[in-house]
Assembly symmetry: C2
Homo-oligomer: 160 residues x 2
């Protein structure tokens, strides 16, 4: 819980969700024997998952840094812009991962891409867990953005 | 060009980019003969591309509706929230498509997903064109959001 933005805001919850998403994704690992060859599944094999981890590390670090910022009105406006950028980054990373996860789960018969979750279920389960945490982080970040808004311009009474 | 937000804003350019992205994506089509079987590539075979088209149609419609709104201070604040939501949606759709396009272009050897651009180059070229237009729309929308901000709270002089 942080009071940087003047009122209660969920930045530590965002941080928790981002840290969880990062850890679960980085530790996701499984291997399978297909036609005598060992088939290894890990997050680093997919550029999209690396992007996801990068963005979640950035979000965790940003939330931590903001905790130590002094509370000032002008800072509230700068926070608003950086909060929008972080929300966009988290939104972008979770969307990209969901698109890849959908192919991993269902495959795409038209492109000849087979689903891989049957072969590496443990990897798929962990990726799913990581995406749930990442999704929670993105939603919490959006709430955080609304809190920042509330602080800079009072939306309820419509007074700036 | 619209003056709804009080000053010049790029909403018609956003609309142009979104309409272009939609049209190029919907008309992207190619087929190839692989092992005697006809292999047909079109946007509707990929759920992510359908999501992209949906979001771009929504963005085009929203930009059109906003053109006919009266200019009011209170409306500026509502526009700010809806603009953030539209920016997030466009950001999400372009990110998801880029992730899928990356697999289509480079494949993913670890998952056994082969690149398809060698077989259906015309489809790939059109999808690339559509993604460029979609990316332009997302960037322009972000600028539009900054314009909305400028209108609601003057960021340069730091007066609300």
């Amino acid at each position: 819980m942080s009071l940087v933005r003047g009122i209660y805001d969920p930045s530590s919850e965002v941080q928790g969700a981002s840290v969880a998403a990062t850890i679960i994704m980085v530790t996701s690992h499984d291997s399978a024997q297909v036609l005598g060859m060992t088939f290894e599944a890990k997050f680093a094999n997919t550029p999209t998952f690396k992007y996801f981890v990068g963005v979640n590390i950035l979000a965790s670090a940003y939330s931590l840094i903001v905790l130590f910022f002094p509370t000032k009105k002008m800072l509230g406006r700068i926070l608003l812009i950086t909060d929008i950028l972080m929300t966009l980054l988290l939104d972008s990373s979770i969307s990209a991962c969901l698109a890849i996860a959908q192919v991993g789960k269902k495959g795409n018969t038209h492109a000849g891409w087979l689903p891989i979750c049957g072969q590496v279920p443990k990897f798929c389960d962990r990726v799913t867990g990581s995406l749930i945490a990442g999704f929670a982080a993105a939603i919490l970040y959006f709430l955080l953005l609304l809190f920042s808004f509330h602080n800079v311009l009072n939306l309820y009474t419509l007074k700036a």
